[in-house]
């Protein structure tokens, strides 16, 4: 039951992330064109390549793959490293999306007045703010990994080979636990 719920959650999250981090960035111009007036659609069509870097959808795809994986592989050995990877992927996504904190938009010549403009937005503080959750996710992943490794080490250390019946019983419990963990 629990597994089924987790799989369902993973699928929903994957779908949401796919749409938010991959589909929308890739198809932004055409999506806007469907609902917005032609002038806005045209503006978005030249604005999109400048505000959405080429690598962003790819990173979004990685995020889309990693987030359900984290949900599905919770309480396994891979949970900690996957959480770290997800944090890293989000960090990369935020950094790429905000273009390192400096977004430059070049407005092409607008006929008939021939206006050309360059707009630079320094959003480093905002970027750092948005980098905080993925950074904490990385920390979380590292903590999970460290905790899991230390727990395994502790268990292995306490279950040295023994001939006593009690030890034998304990060893077999420990081995089972480790299997479950993994």
């Amino acid at each position: 039951m629990l597994k089924t719920l987790r799989v369902a959650t993973a699928i929903v999250i994957a779908a949401i992330h796919f749409v938010a981090f991959y589909y929308v960035p890739v198809n932004l111009a055409s999506l806007v064109a469907r609902v917005a007036p032609p002038q806005v659609a045209e503006a978005v069509s030249w604005l999109t390549p400048q505000i959405i870097p080429r690598t962003l959808p790819l990173i979004g795809l990685i995020v889309t793959v990693l987030t359900p994986a984290v949900i599905l592989l919770k309480n396994t050995k891979a949970y900690g490293p996957l959480t770290t990877l997800t944090g890293l992927a989000f960090t990369a996504y935020v950094y790429t999306a905000l273009q390192g904190g400096f977004i430059t938009i070049t407005v092409p010549k607008i006929p008939p007045i021939g206006l050309e403009a360059t707009i630079t937005m320094a959003a480093t503080a905002l970027m750092y703010l948005f980098l905080l959750p993925p950074t904490l996710t990385i920390v979380k992943g590292i903590l999970i990994t460290v905790e899991a490794v230390s727990r395994v080490k502790a268990l292995k250390g306490s279950l040295k080979p023994s001939t006593t019946p009690a030890n034998t019983k304990a060893n077999s419990y420990s081995n089972r636990l480790i299997r479950n963990e993994s």
Binding site: I113, A117, L136, E147
Partner: protein, 500 residues
């Protein structure tokens, strides 16, 4: 520990999106409205004022608002500059801002000003704006837009100058000036100060012209200059065709401050209104007892394309030798532009009584100096003519033949003396009372002539007899006949030695 991190992640995420949301809302509630642009000209500067109202309805104060604009011409020269800021607009507040763009005409180089005034061109307007929504976003923008500049004095033309006599000392020089105000924004209102320099660079004339042209309107005006002339120059202008060459210096003043100056060569083929003045031979005719009628043909060509000469010149006639005034006359002139004139100076001259004896018996040449004076539209016209006239003596070659004596009474003989002469005058009929007195060589009167009236038409010869009574004592001796011709103009004496 992981749970703590989870809580932190959740908090950070919520805060991040809350900040993003608030930023987006703040930007959405930031409104800028631009008012009417005004253009104000003070002295040599033009101020373009752009008022704006910024309403910050957001949650963040908009700080460090800066706007800097520059206007450059086609060649990249800086024409105008303006800056506003830094200004901070607190949250939920509004602020009135005025961006002032200043064009200082004085700071522009001549070439730049020339391009701006006379050439349509594409100006480059660059605006640099920046603002911050602290501490999250700082935005700066640079916009470059072309601005089609219509030259306020496009096709500025100084037309062909015309020169016209104005008064005793000045010529009126009229120069058409035209241009088109191609600017849709700027009204042209200026004074043009003009100076006319001769080829040596001496200022000879000045004038002013007020120019006004609404946006997209043409201007056509005439710049009038008064050109100072010396008497000699004025006289030359009356009688001689020649090329006038000057340099026109124009200063365009805006509110009394020189904005631009330019110079143009001015060349004008002056065509004299009294060209090729010819004075014919004077004609004389009897008028009255004291005067002769005087008529001199005068001709000239009015080459001028502007001047319709219609005036009357008064003449004073002088004896060219003695310099004494001899008479007066009038020369009516009516010579429309580009026509020839033929007319007569008509007047009266005194019969020179002091020289009557000489004039009656000898051919000679009469020399007169005629000074003509008048004015045309305030311009003085002065002429000095020399008029010559061949004078034919009315009693030329007077000859008395061999006297024939006839007894008259106990004391006197009657003398019959053949007499002939020619009236060589071409106009004067001789009408004279001829009397004679006879004297011996000692000067004693020995006889008298019988008075007679003789009439001899012009250019005819006279043959007649002079009759008189002479004392018997004079017979066979030399004596002198003193003849007196008494004419309407006076008496003339002639002495002839005879032997009876």
């Amino acid at each position: 520990m992981v749970r703590v991190v989870n809580v932190l992640i959740a908090l950070a995420t919520i805060i991040s999106f809350a900040v993003l949301g608030s930023l987006l809302l703040s930007v959405a509630q930031l409104k800028v409205s631009v008012g009417d642009v005004t253009v104000e000209a003070v002295d040599a500067t033009v101020k373009v004022q752009i008022p704006a109202t910024v309403v910050n309805g957001g949650y963040y104060s908009v700080s460090d608002v800066n706007l800097e604009t520059t206007v450059k011409d086609q060649a990249g020269a800086l024409l105008a500059k303006g800056s506003t800021g830094p200004v901070t607009i607190p949250a939920y507040a509004s602020r009135e801002l005025t961006h002032v763009l200043i064009l200082d005409v004085k700071s522009l180089k001549e070439e730049e000003l020339k391009r701006l005034l006379f050439n349509d061109q594409t100006l480059q307007v660059e605006a640099k704006a920046s603002a911050e929504l602290r501490p999250f976003i700082a935005v700066s923008a640079t916009a470059l837009t072309p601005f089609e500049w219509g030259a306020p004095m496009k096709d500025f033309k100084v037309g062909k100058a015309t020169f016209k006599p104005y008064n005793k000392t000045h010529d009126l020089v009229s120069i058409p000036v035209s241009f088109r105000n191609n600017s849709p924004y700027v009204s042209v209102e200026a004074e043009v100060e003009a100076g006319l320099l001769d080829l040596q660079g001496r200022l000879k004339g000045v004038g002013t012209l007020t120019i006004k042209a609404r946006p997209k309107a043409a201007f056509n005006g005439t710049l009038n200059l008064l050109l100072k002339l010396s008497e000699g120059e004025l006289e030359e202008l009356l009688f001689k065709d020649f090329q006038l060459n000057y340099k026109l210096l124009l200063k365009i003043l805006h509110r009394g401050v020189e904005a631009y100056s330019l110079s143009e060569p001015i060349s004008y083929p002056w065509q004299a209104p009294l060209a090729n003045l010819q004075v014919g031979a004077a004609q004389l005719s009897p008028y009255n007892a004291t005067h002769l009628a005087f008529r001199v043909p005068v001709s000239f060509e009015n080459h001028s394309p502007l001047i319709d000469l219609a005036t009357e010149l008064k003449a004073i006639i002088y004896n060219a030798t003695s310099g004494l005034p001899q008479g007066a006359g009038l020369l009516p002139m009516n010579a429309p532009r580009r026509t020839s004139f033929q007319g007569f100076l008509e007047g009266y001259v005194l019969v020179p009584r002091e020289a009557l004896t000489s004039l009656l018996f000898k051919d000679r040449e009469l020399n007169y100096r005629v000074n003509l004076e008048g004015e045309y539209e305030g311009v003085p016209i002065k002429l000095s003519l020399t008029v010559k006239r061949d004078w034919g003596a009315p009693v030329k070659d007077l000859k008395l033949g061999k006297p024939e004596a006839k007894p008259y009474n106990a004391t006197h003989f009657k003398l019959l003396i053949p007499m002939n002469f020619t009236n060589n005058s071409d106009f004067l009929n001789l009408e004279a009372k001829l009397t004679a007195d006879f004297y011996d060589l000692d000067g004693k009167i020995i006889g008298v002539g019988i008075p007679q009236t003789i009439t001899v038409p012009a250019k005819t010869s006279y043959q007649g007899l002079l009759q008189g009574l002479i004392s018997l004592k004079a017979l066979g001796r030399q004596y002198v006949a003193k003849l007196t011709f008494e004419t309407a103009y006076g008496k003339a004496l002639k002495e002839v030695v005879l032997v009876a």
